[in-house]
């Protein structure tokens, strides 16, 4: 294809899309409101193993080549281990495993002894585990920058600190993207702006049903490397990084409302103690490992939790791309799929028929509230709750001794 493509969103999906477009020789400008990979794309578990996805095969094909293709290290490591502390967890992990086995990938069961050989930190009472000869993990922070540098190496343009303010339409096509730094003429547009995709799509009259939420992770100090760092279980996702840190997440998320185009700084919650508990249960032999960081990030989910990767009928040159909270690992494949949607209108290596926007045509407008996917506060109040005042109605504190100063 000739012409100029504007990719909106410097998260991992937008970055991969722009990179694939440049690889095909397409002129591309990526517009990012802040810094590339800054939000959830650079802060996640780094997993690259999504057997339920139509992009799974391509994910598996591409990751082992990514360091070479990008020219910069991603810290990709192949293989995964799932650790089951009890038979119920083992059954759950078998279910996921079988999805991959059905698609021709190989996995082996590990008894407690074999598991301890590979992951010496597990409890003596461990039920067992699974070794996946597929999947893997990479370093999200390093990978997003690798994409960005690779785009620049191929002559693509990245505009950081640039916010999209509107779109110019002519007929059924977007002809320019308006930004706070001026207009960008375009022949095609990809909106891959994570939780902000809905707000941007609404500017061209397209409704994208997504709900933003906060999720969090903890990180320990480095430990000696185990053989396969991609070992998780007990309701946690995560990995031992190549540096040796344990980085794990999971557990309760919090549904949010994003009032404007800026992603607010995502804070951690007391859930970090529950993450520490689960990691302690999973790896009791390294109970001494010190937690040195926690993070949170904001991700978006569609009503069915599946991506929307769709080139629309109107505007006809617009592609909507949200990975529904699972974007990092699938990014090599999603970017290629989106590139094909832009350049040829269809993806020739994966069945994206389940990922159209039109599947939500009949969605009730209050779908978020119906699912409880809305901000929640104990008193139902909006806004921040400040500290109590002695002269305010109601009990001040557990002690109730508010007025002792008279």
């Amino acid at each position: 294809m000739s012409g100029h493509v504007v990719v909106i969103g410097g998260g991992v999906t937008g970055l991969s899309t722009a990179w694939w477009l440049r690889r095909e020789g397409v002129a591309v400008t990526l517009v990012e409101r802040g810094i590339v990979g800054w939000e959830a794309s650079g802060r996640n578990g780094g997993g690259a193993t999504h057997a339920y996805s139509p992009l799974f095969r391509e994910e598996q094909r591409l990751w082992p080549m990514m360091d070479e293709l990008l020219g910069y290290p991603t810290e990709y490591q192949p293989q995964r281990i799932r650790i089951a502390l009890d038979p119920a967890q083992l059954e759950q992990y078998w279910r996921v495993t079988n999805l991959a086995v059905q698609q021709g990938f190989r996995a082996e069961a590990l008894d407690a002894h074999a598991l301890k050989e590979l992951v010496p930190w597990v409890p003596d009472s461990v039920a067992g585990g699974l070794l996946w000869h597929f999947g893997g993990h990479a370093n999200p922070q390093r990978t997003v920058q690798a994409y960005a540098w690779a785009i620049e190496d191929l002559g693509g343009t990245i505009l950081q600190h640039t916010a999209v303010t509107g779109f110019d339409l002519r007929g059924d096509k977007v002809v320019a993207v308006q930004t706070d730094q001026g207009p960008l003429g375009c022949d095609a547009v990809v909106i891959a702006a994570g939780p902000h995709t809905a707000q941007l799509a609404a500017m061209v009259g397209v409704t994208v049903p997504i709900a933003p939420a906060r999720a969090e992770m903890i990180v320990t100090e480095p430990l000696p490397l185990i053989r396969h760092g991609g070992a998780d279980g007990n309701g946690l996702y995560g990995r031992q990084t190549l540096r040796g840190n344990l980085a794990y997440g999971g557990g309760p998320h919090e549904w949010l409302e994003l009032p404007d185009a800026r992603t607010p700084k995502a804070v951690n919650s007391p859930v970090v103690r529950s993450l520490a508990r689960r990691l302690h249960e999973l790896f009791p032999k390294v109970a001494h490992a010190r937690v040195i960081r926690s993070w949170a990030g904001v991700v978006e989910n569609t009503p069915d939790g599946r991506p929307i990767l769709d080139r629309l009928d109107a505007p006809a040159n617009l592609v909507i791309a949200t990975m529904s909270s699972v974007g990092f690992g699938l990014s090599p494949a999603s970017g290629r799929a989106i590139m094909q949607l832009v350049t040829q209108g269809r993806c020739d290596f994966a069945d994206l028929s389940q990922l159209t926007l039109s599947r939500f045509a009949g969605l009730p407008t209050d779908w978020q509230a119906r699912n409880g996917w809305v901000p929640w506060s104990p008193d139902g109040a909006e806004g921040e709750r400040g500290p109590a005042r002695a002269d305010a109605a109601g009990p001040l504190s557990a002690s109730g001794q508010a007025q002792a100063h008279s």
Binding site: I35, Y52, Q92, E221, G235, P264, G372, S399
Partner: protein
Amino acid sequence: MPRPIDRTSVAGKEFPATDHLQLVVLGAGPAGVAAAVEAARLGLRVMLVDEHPVASALMGIDVPWMFGERMTASVQNQPRMLERIVAARPELEQAFEVGVDVRLGVYVWAAFVTGPTSRALPCRMLALADETQSWLIGFDRLVVAAGARDLAVAFPGWDRPGVMGAQGFAAAIGLYGAFAGRRVVVLGAGVTGLRCVQQAREAGIEVAAVVDVAAAAHEEFATHGVTVHSGCAVRGVEGGAEVEGISIVPVGGGAAVTIACDTIVSALDTVPNVEMFDLLGCAMAFRPEWGGHVPVTDADGRCSVDGIYAAGDCAGIGDAEPRDPALAASSGREAARAAARDAGFAAPAPARTIRTHGGDREARRRHWLQVHAGPAAALTICRCEDVTLRDLLGVRPPRYLSYDDAKFAGRDVRTLAGDGPVNQDQVKRLTRAGMGPCQGRRCREQVQTLLAMQGNQPSGSVPMPSYRAPLRPLPLSVLSAHDESAALRANWTGWFGIAPQWLPHWEKVPENPEYWGGRIFLDAAK
């Protein structure tokens, strides 16, 4: 009709708190004790929390101060250290008398308040821990009196055991009475260095010399009869496993001089300890005349987040003013009065704090780094992650990775700056500088200065890298939520628990919309 709730979310989850305080004071230095005593006298229910004595294992990685492995083995005896600290802080007696709930040897490692990304929290909470477990308390107001931290600046050999910071030195002599050295060289001929000399003299520790790259030294050194080597750079640290001396050389060139010593106290400056303010989301400003990033406050110490107050050195350190504990105590009392009035208690109006400003502290830090880091690309900047100056300014991947060096030939901090203002958190992600177990305590200020210098920018143009919980490195076994609510445990999912997300793509999403948000794996993930 009840509101539908996503049971896999935090909505409705309880986080059990062991107590709820009207006021918590963080830090039992002069400012914190005065704040706690004043607030208790005004009728508030107050808890005063201080981390000392800290675990010797934390001292080993220079948390919270640069102890430089110069503490005697007595710090491993925590009960004894506790007695020692109570004795070293006689003003604590007052706090006990007025009924303050005093917790020593307790870390405050996180604060959780409601905000745009955290509305479901039942109340404002602080996360505490001792050496064996962690717990939560609810609070209405918080006076942060977290004091000052050591400023780490690189010079050849600064990463050797035996090189400590001014705060670590002061604590080793005073608070802990556990200093393992006998003869010190003090780096920094300003007020911080002067204080170290005074403390050393009072403790009967020999000061072999004071060294500074600056041409002029504080005039008071003369009254102490200590040798000051102005206009000198550190050439290296002498000795094998232990420091045996320091080699210095005139900045403009000349003969090197070796000074025998067993400890080097890096006392160029201290920085306000602002980690809790950042965690709470308080507005911050870079004020080099106050020692670095400080919380934005009103005259009474109120921060931008309601109910949070700053007192003492963490609110900003004036370089020109003497470190008078009475001044710190006065700022603590004022913060307590402001908190009491805000809580609806009758309290005297806080008296406006007069703070004197110092000179441009950042210029001194730059001078130090220019002299030492300028010619030494191999100088280690981040000790935990082994990041050299070359690695940092060249945004190189860490050593454990192999990479194509040619690819990075055209990439450095300056090219990164071409895409937008240099952001220290971004550089941290790429180089790992500041990502280690000391949580950036030994490099975050100098990385900020070096990045700004490289881009010919004022240091304030580099945004402050974020602080993350836990504010102290704490073991998994300690952080572990032993008191976790049953509902949280029962509804745990690895990732959202949206059923169709985990069904194979060839299976259609069930038609029933109520199935969205369902939890297929829940029963298995106990």
